[in-house]
């Protein structure tokens, strides 16, 4: 399951990344394999999304979220 497939309020645990370059950016922002990640909100126009991870909130586009595989 991908992060982009979560419903609002659902959460998952990060398993791996499918895009190496994106993974470096995401990890620097605290999205690490093993971290719990929860979909908080979707922007009014359907994209981007806001997730809470590692104790803070992060916004990212759906396309970027689709590179995060969840357990």
């Amino acid at each position: 399951m991908k992060l982009s497939q979560l419903q609002i309020g659902q959460q998952g645990i990060i398993k791996e990344f499918t895009d190496l370059e994106m993974s470096v950016k995401l990890m620097e922002m605290g999205c690490l394999p093993g971290e719990c990640i929860k979909l908080e909100r979707i922007a009014p126009l359907g994209d981007p999304i806001a997730v809470s991870v590692a104790g803070y909130q992060l916004s990212l586009r759906k396309l970027e979220a689709s590179t995060i595989e969840l357990i």
């Binding site: 190496l20 994106m22 993974s23 620097e28 909100r41 922007a43 981007p48 806001a50 803070y56 916004s59």
Partner: protein, 704 residues
């Protein structure tokens, strides 16, 4: 004398780094540039307990030493290049105590660079509130650095930080964090030997970043390139394993030193606020409401201080005319410089308020939500959600706004943002709009509540934003780029604005505005006054001879002759001739040669318009006339037709011209510095001029 000790503040965004910086330096700070790049360098001075004064530099906020946007590059460059004039003796890493894990990533990177380092844990009060227990001494022992706990917003812990700085040893003592060398052993050792770098982590960073590092020579870059090719260096892969290694080190450290029991409370409050502020419908309604309220307040609150400034200048002008000896120098001083300055200084209250509101929006965290809401829309026209910040800032001034576009990682999105930001109506256009609207739009209220003049002004603002979006959409198809755009951004929790920061922003913006605009206006006023007061060859003598002949002296009174002579002199002065030269080109837009002169001078800066008009009409009229520029312009008649110069058609046409044309040298200079290529400001200048001409022409034809 020994140079002052210099410390650099480094940290993630939203850690309160600038609050600490402001608390340390107060008003004792200045904004300059880092050598060779235009990233704002905020520096200031602070006094330690032992009386020593040290320099403090605030480096741009970043999550890691690997830069994702243009201004983050500077962090590594300043820290690694010992020759850099901003290179610090010591680094203070500011970390958010409520989110230590992520914040320590940057700390471990900095620690490995081998500079003396202090760890400042900010927001310790919030961490306590969230039941996060941090063993500060344990952390200090484990990392072997000084660790200071702060609550900068409450001004707690600053003295401890100063003490730590005072007692910091001059050599780096921190424990090593990860086995850097094992990440890429051959590459690190070879880059280190070839470029003579002693620190292995600096060598690794150079291997990753060599293409962007300005302090490396061409040969050095070439050498690094060779090494990398030889060993088939895969940058993202090594970065990924480094990041993972660092996090496992951090986990180990935190396991012993931090007890984390519950999540911060603020988060849940923030979530509730976001439920409304980023709501499908209410989100946009609130956003538009906030913008509307800001503009209403800017006009309402600035009315009184503006009146005071105006009165002050009228008083100064009168004082000058009363007490200074009459003559050319007095005329220059009063009709040129003072008139020019007053036209602009009047706008200080509005500019200060606009900057204050924008800084409140950013400080509270609301701007990040606007970015979040608008990203989808902005992406459709080739922009990024983050383009909203420069575009809203463009309402104040395009220069800092274009610099703020650096946060946009994607080249194409950033370029388009830079290209369209100057279209957004900035505060320098406001004097022109206000003046011209008051000339031709009646001060009437229609439908009971809509003020006509205000409506016209708002129309101009809306039009400018629509134009910016349309141009962006066109550019989306013209600019080519294969790179993907990113939108990975932290949404900070809502916080009360730090009024001290807001105050400092206001103070800084007004200071910059007064000195920068003041310089240009004084220079332009003097040049213009000279050009309007002297003419080529013996034209002026001939005019005097003509009017002293009996054909005039018998028919007209002395006063009338003076006026006619003055007006013919202006027409034959250098400025007049320049205006006349472009008159055929601007006649279709409804402008005469006098407006032509204003257009020419306005290419230095728009706000010069009002001053130019003041100078031109004062040179022509008699000096005792204390009428305001507005009245002089209202009475202006076309010499040939005898009709008023400023009609609805010509005034709106002129406003269109000022709305679209690139009349700001500072903006062009900053676009050049930001894009590093002369072609961008040139393209921008040309497309905006074409747009201005067409819009003016259509407006004039339709309204007359």
């Amino acid at each position: 004398m020994k140079n002052k000790k210099r410390i650099a503040l480094v940290g993630n965004p939203n850690t309160g780094k600038s609050t600490i910086f402001n608390a340390l330096t107060g008003l004792n700070q200045k904004i300059g540039n880092f050598p060779g790049v235009t990233v704002d360098k905020k520096s200031g001075f602070t006094k330690l307990a032992d009386g020593e004064t040290i320099e403090v530099i605030d480096l741009p906020g970043t999550y890691s030493l690997y830069p994702k946007s243009a201004d983050e590059t500077i962090v590594f460059e300043v820290l690694a290049d010992k020759q850099n004039s901003a290179h610090p003796d010591m680094v203070v890493v500011v970390a958010d105590a409520t989110n230590l894990k992520r914040n320590l990533l940057l700390f471990t990177q900095i620690a490995d660079l081998g500079l003396p380092v202090i760890l400042a844990l900010n927001m310790i009060d919030l961490a306590k509130k969230g039941n996060i227990e941090i063993d500060i001494d344990g952390l200090a022992k484990r990392l072997n650095v000084q660790v200071v706990a702060l609550a900068a917003r409450k001004s707690q812990g600053l003295d401890d930080l100063k003490k730590a700085i005072q007692f910091q040893s001059e050599t780096a003592l921190q424990a090593s964090t990860i086995a850097v060398k094992s990440l890429a052993p051959e590459i690190i050792s070879e880059v280190a030997t070839r470029l003579n770098i002693s620190n292995p982590y600096v060598a690794l960073q150079v291997a990753h970043q060599h293409g962007n590092l300005k302090y490396l020579s061409k040969d050095e870059r070439q050498e690094v390139q060779e090494v990398l090719q030889q060993h088939s260096f895969h940058s993202p892969k090594i970065q990924a394993s480094e990041t993972i290694a660092r996090y496992s080190f951090i986990n180990e450290v935190l396991l012993d030193t931090v007890k984390h029991t519950t999540v911060a409370i603020e988060e849940s409050i923030s979530n509730k606020i976001d439920h409304y502020l980023t709501h499908k419908v209410w989100g946009f309604v609130i956003f538009i409401g906030i913008l509307f309220a800001i503009f209403q307040s800017i006009f309402a609150w600035s009315e009184y201080p503006m009146m005071l400034i105006e009165t002050l200048f009228v008083w100064l002008e009168k004082l000058g005319h009363d007490y200074l000896p009459a003559g050319a120098l007095t005329d220059l001083l009063i009709d040129g410089v003072l008139a020019g300055l007053s036209g602009v200084m009047v706008f200080i209250p509005q500019i200060a308020l606009l900057f204050a509101f924008i800084s409140v929006l950013e400080d509270t965290g609301y701007m990040a939500r606007v970015t979040f809401m608008m990203d989808r829309l902005m992406r459709k026209v080739g922009l990024n959600g983050k383009s909203v910040v420069p575009m809203i800032g463009g309402l104040a001034c395009a220069v800092p706004s274009i610099m703020s576009a650096r946060t946009i990682e994607n080249w194409k999105e950033r370029m388009i943002t830079i290209m369209v930001t100057p279209l957004v109506s900035c505060s320098a256009r406001l004097p022109i709009y206000t003046l011209l609207i008051s000339l031709v739009v009646p001060n009437k209220i229609v439908f009971g509540f809509i003020q006509l003049q205000g409506l016209a002004l708002m129309g101009l603002y809306v039009m400018s934003i629509v134009a910016a979006i349309l141009v962006a959409w066109v550019m989306k198809f013209i600019l080519k780029s294969k790179l993907k755009g990113y939108f990975i951004m932290e949404l900070p929790v809502y916080r009360m604005p730090r009024w001290r920061n807001v105050g400092l922003t206001m103070y800084e913006s007004v200071k910059t505005f007064v000195t920068e605009a003041g310089k240009v206006i004084i220079a332009v006023s003097i040049v213009l006054w000279v050009m309007a007061s002297y003419g080529p060859g013996d034209r002026f003598e001939k005019i005097e001879q003509k009017y002293s002949g009996p054909a005039y002296t018998q028919k007209f009174s002395e006063e009338e002759i003076d006026r006619m002579a003055a007006s013919e002199k202006l027409e034959n002065s250098y400025a007049g001739l320049a205006g006349k030269a472009i008159e055929p080109g601007i006649k279709p837009l409804g402008f005469d040669w006098k407006i032509g002169i204003a257009l020419i001078t306005s290419f230095a800066a728009r706000e010069v318009f009002v001053g130019t008009m003041a100078t031109l009409y004062s040179v022509e009229g008699d000096a005792d006339d204390m009428n305001s520029v507005r009245e002089k312009m209202a009475n202006a008649k076309n010499a040939e037709t005898g009709l008023p110069v400023f009609t609805v058609a010509s005034a709106f046409s002129l406003m269109m011209f000022y709305a679209f044309a690139m009349q700001c040298m500072s903006t062009m200079a900053v676009v050049y510095r930001e894009t590093k290529h002369i072609k961008w400001p040139v393209i921008q200048f040309v497309y905006m001029l074409v747009l201005a001409y067409v819009a003016s022409y259509l407006t004039y034809v339709m309204l007359s």
